[in-house]
């Protein structure tokens, strides 16, 4: 595992482990059979999903100055280096904000509405706030946590959910359910 932390192609930042080649592991996307949208990663974002498939939350960091950046992009806005690596994070964070969408929505989402969408500020990289869902278990429905349990500042931890579209997305569980 420690080796995987550092074994990255510093040009693309992609994991070099061929069992999870991000160009294949993170392709696909679109719409799953459950009707929910799956991510359609671009070249820069593909490693995020490849690592998520292994149960790891990693963000792109500059290989030279070390600054994390999100969303992933070709070069570092601080030092302009094109070399990057993907740093493994603790998977912990706090809810920065949330909404409860109601219809009109795409049908698969309307079926679960009102559900929650949370914005999670990462403990290890506070300027990065990941959009996700607070769920009762990693494969539970988008509305599986009662709205009254959701509050700004609540500590959460990452969970990894394999979508029906084939990609793994990061979801969030309350640290104190």
């Amino acid at each position: 595992m420690t080796q995987m932390d550092t074994t990255t192609d510093t040009t693309t930042g992609a994991p070099t482990d061929t069992t999870a080649d991000p160009t294949t592991a993170a392709s696909g996307g679109g719409e799953g059979s459950d009707g929910l949208l799956a991510p359609v990663p671009d070249e820069d974002g593909a490693p995020f999903f490849a690592y998520a498939a292994r149960g790891e939350l990693r963000v792109q960091c500059c290989a030279d100055c070390g600054e994390p950046r999100f969303p992933p992009r070709p070069c570092c806005p601080h030092c302009q280096s094109f070399d990057c690596l993907w740093k493994k994070l603790s998977g912990r964070g706090r809810i920065w904000s949330y909404v409860l969408p109601h219809p009109p929505l795409l049908p698969a989402y309307a079926a679960q509405a009102p559900y929650n969408v949370v914005l999670v500020e990462l403990a290890d990289a506070p300027r990065i706030r990941l959009v996700g869902n607070l769920v009762a278990a990693r494969d539970a429905a988008l509305n599986s946590v009662p709205p009254e349990r959701i509050r700004i500042g609540a500590p959460v931890k990452a969970a990894f959910h394999a979508t029906e579209g084939g990609l793994t997305v990061v979801r969030w569980l309350l640290e104190r359910p």
């Binding site: 996307g29 359609v40 904000s97 969408p101 109601h102 795409l106 969408v117 914005l119």
Partner: protein
């Protein structure tokens, strides 16, 4: 030194190192179609009607038009519009991106082109059947790649959801309440109730209606969201000198700016130090830097209102109050006629029509002509803004 060596051109602009847009150009004509949930004519036909109405308002022949500007989301292009209305040879055309963030920039681009001699008669327009046509967010094929890979799979599908996240945080940090958002919705609705062209002309809004309305994306309810409208609008930009010979009282483009802040991410601006400091802050710095007056001198404001929380955020960004005070600013009827800053005096996107903010430009012109349906007495200065939350633009207009 450079300033003393400059010379005034016939366009009223200052040539040379000190070149400035300030009052060099003016909006000489405005035009629009009716607004409705559904209009039978095509977007192209509506665009032509609005543009010809604006030219007629200015008293300028279509054959004199040599510049066009619109939004990248505009479906009618300058080739089709130019040949339909009978424009002459066109020497400047421009499209501005980022949806409603581009509204004021269309005028700014024309002003820059005319002030620098690239063209002489510019038309900016927006024609959109958003009332009867599809909602953009339902096109998931177009929406899923960057940056939507990070947001839409989780059900953050619509602009209302994206802005809702910022609104919830704003409420949390600064004590803003739904009553503050209601103040915005009410001011716009009250003005629409005075404007026969407004979709909501005969539909008053009460606090009871607002507080019991259905949710769209909590904390935003139905009345925090703009309308869905079919309609088209246009305006004509010419040199200040030319404008003084036109049919209507000139409304000068005093200052103009676009705004794309460092490390900004569009409407999903969640990945930087301070997501609540949006593009309006960047546009405002440039806008005021080149103006002869400040926020305290603005008589009336037309602030982009796709969602009510954009008003307090914009009030802060454009300097009408300090950070965190935008919600409190709306109290005590501040946004009504007679208040500190009369807002969206035609009803805005919330209650007149939602045509990507172009009706805010035309209403600003009416106010400075003194012909608004809810006229601010003696209004001489007007701020018009484009969409906050996305790369934006703004205009300071004066009579």
């Amino acid at each position: 030194m450079g300033a003393t060596e400059t010379t005034r051109t016939t366009a009223g602009a200052i040539a040379g190192a000190g070149a400035t847009l300030k009052d060099a150009t003016a909006i000489a004509g405005i035009g629009q179609t009716p607004f409705a949930k559904r209009l039978p004519e095509s977007e192209k036909t509506l665009a032509c009607r609005a543009i010809l109405a604006a030219l007629d308002d200015a008293g300028i022949a279509p054959s004199e038009v040599d510049a066009f500007a619109s939004y990248t989301m505009e479906e009618t292009d300058e080739v089709e519009v130019a040949k339909a209305i009978g424009a002459g040879d066109v020497t400047f055309f421009s499209k501005v991106g980022y949806g409603g963030g581009g509204s004021c920039a269309t005028v700014a681009h024309l002003a820059a082109a005319i002030a620098t001699g690239q063209a002489s008669v510019g038309v900016a327009w927006r024609s959109r059947k958003r009332g009867s046509g599809p909602r953009p967010w339902t096109n998931t094929r177009a929406q899923l790649p960057t940056p939507a890979q990070w947001t839409r799979p989780y059900g953050l599908l619509r602009p209302a959801d994206e802005i809702g996240l910022l609104a919830r945080r704003y409420m949390h940090e600064y004590g803003a309440t739904r009553d503050h958002f209601f103040n915005v919705a009410l001011a716009c609705r009250n003005r629409a109730n005075q404007n026969p062209a407004a979709i909501m002309y005969d539909r008053p809004l009460t606090r009871e209606m607002y507080m019991t309305a259905r949710w769209i994306s909590e904390p935003l309810c139905l009345f925090d969201n703009c309308l869905e409208t079919d309609g088209a609008l246009a305006c004509v930009v010419v040199s200040a000198e030319r404008a003084r010979d036109c049919r209507q009282r000139p409304v000068y483009v005093h200052s103009a700016a676009q705004g794309l802040p460092a490390q900004h991410h569009g409407m999903v601006n969640y990945w930087n130090d301070d997501p609540l400091t949006g593009p309006s802050w960047t546009a405002a710095r440039q806008l005021w830097k080149t103006a002869d007056f400040g926020p305290q001198d603005v008589d009336v404001a037309q602030i982009y209102d796709a969602f009510t929380p954009l008003i307090p955020l914009s009030l802060e960004g454009y300097g009408f109050c300090a950070r965190g005070e935008g919600a409190a600013f709306t109290e005590g009827g501040a946004l009504e006629i007679g208040g500190r800053l009369p807002l969206n005096t035609g009803g805005g996107g919330l209650s007149e029509a939602y045509v990507h903010g172009f009706n805010l430009i035309t209403e600003g012109v009416r106010q400075l002509r003194g012909t608004g349906t809810a006229q601010v007495p003696g209004a001489e200065t007007c701020l018009v803004t484009a969409g906050e939350g996305v790369p934006t633009s703004a205009l300071l207009l004066r009579s």
